[in-house]
């Protein structure tokens, strides 16, 4: 059967680069769903985009839907031929076309109606407008009286099955077979088919595929830099931005005066990256070189005009930065402290001066040394500097650099420099103990303050980035090996404690890759000390593959169920006199013998050794369950057995609650 190639191109004005990848993911899902729900075969070749077009290409679409059949049930067979004739007449079909069908209520007359599949082009024409409006965007606009909302105005739509137009209208734009090339380099109206689309656009300076644009940028940049003995500072996020800011990207290498390298490189890189979207360049030794890479949305710059223009802009920006640097040096960080009274942190939480005082106290309480306290005192002072007003993303970093310039000792300036870290799950924690404490205290103050005011993040609403702050706290505690009790850090706020627990789970599962049941098992045995949680998790991970572990975990689960069913509340010690000789006594003796040894290992935090000891109990436990009936007729014996099992469970659940471990046996 002949199938068709499909093309949808939504032509728009320039879409913000960062919104494109998530939109493409939706577009793919929506289109596949469209095919499925209409029983259309076909596979997506690619979903791709440039700033001015969102594109779906698919192949293997049929000419029409497959035919289907619907059974219309008529009167019961028992009603006789007259009823059947009436049924056939109503449907307008000859009596001979009726069949009888077996139903739970008996035999019935029925008619199998054949439904002819509808043409694919018709289905697409009906469904595509809805698909376009169903893409959701972070922020939309309207541009017509009708007030349809999309990310930017839709200016043309191409919808084709091979070379046949799929006809529909969105926002006053009729679909067709005419696309548009690069704004400057391409033709405005280009007739295409589904098959020659990419090739026609390429000839008009549009590379539809993001991967191809990325390759072009990478390869050409490398070639340009290699001849100068330079190389790119890797920056995947910026590269992606540039890929979605251009239809035909071409990199160029610009230069700046070496004298600017005297400014902090953090500032230079921020100006280039955040303000100009330039990639930074390193020399062979990995030092920042006085060059940059700009990516044009053009085919070239033969006269060097674009290069000269970009260099001029960068020079002006660097001059500004130098001016800010010099101005800011006129007033020391320490002298800016009282200015923080004028900077609001949050209406109900006071100024940054108030916050600073709280953070200093907290650092003291957490055992911070003089350096840490000094850093906490100066940490927010850079908020009043010209440099941070201009480059807000450099807060902290600028404070640290100024502190260094103004002769603060290294532990102080470094702590200020790094006190916003970690800014994401991938970001490292501050490199010094002082920095960790200041960062921790700063975040805790924000969390406690907001939670006390009831400003608790819900769903996507998290204006103070409290999730990130809490995640930072967890990361610093674990990776900084700080054994501080989380309950205390939560300031006795139960909601904050819960919030931390969520973040702890997330951290160990998603960031550290522990299995969810291991995390559950370990957290069930307590989580106030996160460094300890980490050690216990590592022990579980190590012991888990050993032969005895999972079967023992299954037995623990069984024990828990038995105790629950017996509604056993515990209390009584095991009376050895009531134990039956054989497996029961042997289990008890083994348990009794292991107990102090396990406890000793546990106290030394040799969790792995402790777990191995516990796992060695497995044959005894198995034998016990094999040979001994817990629910003995004699109540005293029964209760004694429950006491034995209860002791076993409690004693050995202080490292992890094994009954939380999902084993193959418990899974099935």
């Amino acid at each position: 059967m002949k199938t068709h190639r499909f093309l949808l191109e939504i032509g728009t004005e320039e879409i913000p680069d960062w919104m494109i990848p998530p939109a493409l993911e939706q577009l793919r899902g929506l289109f596949e769903q469209l095919l499925n729900s209409n029983s259309l075969s076909g596979t997506v070749i690619c979903v791709d985009a440039t700033p001015r077009r969102l594109v779906v290409q698919a192949q293997g679409l049929p000419e029409r839907q497959p035919d289907s059949e619907e059974t219309l049930t008529g009167p019961p067979k028992a009603a006789g031929d007259t009823a059947a004739a009436g049924f056939a007449r109503k449907l307008g079909v000859p009596l001979t076309d009726l069949v009888t069908v077996e139903t739970p209520k008996g035999e019935y007359f029925a008619y199998r109606k054949r439904i002819e599949g509808r043409p694919t082009v018709e289905i697409l024409a009906r469904e595509l407008p809805g698909l376009i409006w169903n893409i959701s965007w972070p922020k939309t606009m309207y541009w017509r009286r009708e007030r349809e909302r999309f990310i930017r105005p839709i200016r043309w739509v191409v919808a084709l099955l091979d070379s046949r137009v799929v006809p529909f209208e969105v926002a006053g734009v009729a679909s067709g077979n005419v696309t548009s090339g690069h704004r400057q380099l391409g033709r405005k109206r280009i007739r295409v088919t589904a098959a020659n689309y990419e090739e026609r656009l390429r000839a008009n300076y549009v590379l539809v595929r993001a991967a191809e644009r990325e390759r072009k940028i990478r390869e050409e940049t490398e070639a340009l830099l290699a001849v100068r003995g330079l190389h790119l500072r890797r920056d995947d996020a910026l590269l992606q931005t540039l890929v979605y800011l251009t239809e035909y990207p071409t990199p160029l290498v610009g230069e700046f005066d070496r004298a600017y390298l005297d400014l902090p490189h953090e500032v230079l890189v921020t100006v280039m990256r955040h303000h100009q979207k330039y990639l930074s360049v390193e020399d062979a030794e990995g030092r920042l070189a006085p060059y940059f890479v700009a990516v044009m949305n053009m085919a070239g710059d033969p006269e060097g005009l674009v290069k000269a223009g970009n260099e001029r802009v960068l020079r002006a920006r660097f001059n500004d930065a130098r001016f800010f640097w010099q101005t800011d040096q006129k007033k020391k960080l320490a002298d800016r402290l009282h200015d923080l009274a004028q900077v609001t942190f949050q209406t109900d939480l006071g100024s940054y001066l108030d916050k600073t005082q709280r953070v200093v106290e907290l650092v003291k309480k957490l055992g911070g040394n003089e350096y840490a306290q000094r850093a906490a005192l100066l940490a927010k002072c850079d908020l009043t500097t010209e440099m941070v007003k201009e480059f807000t993303e450099l807060q902290g970093v600028i404070g640290g650099l100024y502190a260094r310039e103004q002769g603060e000792p290294e532990p102080v300036w470094r702590a200020i420099y790094e006190h916003y870290k970690p800014e994401s799950m991938e970001d490292a924690i501050p490199s010094t103990p002082e920095g960790r404490l200041v960062s921790l205290a700063d975040k805790l103050d924000t969390l406690q303050g907001c939670f006390r005011l009831g400003m608790i993040p819900s769903g996507s609403k998290d204006p103070f980035a409290l999730r990130r702050a809490a995640q930072g706290v967890v990361k610093i505690l674990v990776e900084g090996k700080l054994s501080l009790p989380v309950t205390e850090l939560a300031g006795d706020l139960p909601e904050l404690r819960e919030f931390f627990l969520d973040r702890v789970r997330y951290y160990f599962r998603e960031v550290r890759g522990f299995r969810y049941d291991e995390v559950n098992a370990v957290l069930a045995a307590g989580w106030d000390d996160l460094t300890d949680v980490e050690s216990r998790l590592e022990a579980i991970r190590a012991v888990r593959p050993t032969a005895n572990f999972e079967p023992l975990a299954a037995s623990f689960k069984r024990i828990r169920n038995i105790l629950r069913q017996a509604e056993y509340t515990g209390g009584a010690p095991v009376e050895p006199g009531l134990l039956e000789p054989g497996p029961e006594t042997e289990l008890y003796e083994a348990f009794d013998g292991l107990r102090s040894e396990v406890e000793a290992r546990r106290r030394e935090k040799q969790y792995r050794a402790a777990l191995e000891r516990i796992a060695s109990l497995r044959p005894r436990v198995d034998l016990f369950f094999d040979k001994v009936l817990v629910n003995a007729p004699d109540e005293r014996i029964r209760r004694n057995r429950l006491a034995l099992l209860d002791g076993l469970l409690k004693e050995f659940s202080t490292i992890a609650d094994f009954s939380e471990i999902v084993t193959e046996a418990t899974n099935s």
Binding site: W143, R145, R183, Q184, L245, N310, Q342
Partner: protein, 294 residues
């Protein structure tokens, strides 16, 4: 060489040919061309309108005593309002750049997301900053709301930074080196202005006096807004005069800000006061428009 005034002439000519009324700058201090009644009020309501005008825009806090080559207390904007925005508005804009002598086949032009918002005016829009060889030359906005009101006809607002365009065309490193007219530099025309107003704005403006002025204008505006309901001939009611007082308040707020007289906490409250006035004016204006149409 294309002089500063050539850029001005050509852009005005270009937009006049595309049906714009060419207006002259509004004769009160404003922070941006958007604040002029020709934009703030005209974008409201169902009447199509096209206008272009140069607007010297005052931002006291941006003053640098004429010492910074790129920052100015007062800069020149060319403001274009196309209401409703035509379908080919981006192309029309690009052609305007060609009209002042920028060969877009030799330069790199990008539209980068930049949404505009003015809390003081209760106005916002969706759009881009237009980057030419890495230099921001224009703010391009599809207005969505003004004076807190959803707009009936979505206008496109093009705000050209004229000093930047001229510096680009002339390849100068400092705005003060721009040739304003043959043989006359930007410094010749404007430097004293920048120096003196920086001194006034940062050093000499009397804060209590500014607060008094602010309150006087605010009171007068409020008085007018309240008088509307009992005024008989609504069509003749001076909504436009009330708006002048909003502009005065806005400028005085900026001055107080550059004197460092407004704390961050106060800031939000004062913006709210100006915004209430602006929203009040916008509503009366719309009501007058509706009466006129009826």
């Amino acid at each position: 060489m294309t002089s500063f005034q050539d850029v001005l002439f050509r852009l005005k000519q270009y937009w006049a040919e595309r049906g714009c009324v060419i207006q002259e700058p509004y004769d009160l201090e404003v922070g941006a061309g958007t604040m002029c009644p020709e934009t703030f009020l005209r974008v409201l309501g169902p009447k199509p309108y096209r206008v272009a005008y140069v607007q010297p825009s005052r931002r006291p806090a941006d003053g640098r005593y004429g010492e910074n080559p790129n920052r100015l207390y007062k800069h020149w904007q060319l403001q274009v309002i196309l209401k409703p925005a035509p379908d080919d508005v981006v192309d029309q804009y690009l052609e305007s750049l060609e009209a002042i002598g920028i060969d877009l086949n030799k330069h790199d032009l990008k539209l980068e997301e930049d949404n505009w918002e003015s809390p003081t005016l209760g106005a916002w829009g969706i759009g881009w900053q237009v980057m030419l060889d890495g230099l921001e030359i224009t703010q391009f906005t599809y207005f969505q709301q003004c004076g807190g009101v959803d707009l009936e006809l979505v206008p496109a607002e093009l705000t050209y930074g004229l000093e930047r365009l001229a510096a680009f065309l002339q390849g100068t490193e400092s705005v003060y080196e721009i040739q304003w007219a043959p043989g006359v530099t930007y410094a010749d025309v404007r430097l004293a202005d920048e120096v003196q107003f920086s001194v006034y704005n940062f050093e000499l403006a009397d804060v209590p006096t500014l607060w008094q002025l602010f309150e006087l204008h605010e009171r007068e505006c409020r008085r007018l807004l309240e008088a509307y309901s009992s005024y008989r001939d609504k069509q003749r009611f001076p909504v436009l005069a009330a708006y002048d007082h909003v502009l005065k308040c806005s400028h005085l707020f900026n001055l107080l800000d550059s004197r460092g007289a407004i704390s961050v906490t106060e800031r939000v409250a004062v913006i709210g006061r100006v915004r209430r006035l602006a929203v009040g004016v916008a509503q009366l204006w719309l009501e007058q428009q509706a009466r006129e149409a009826a």
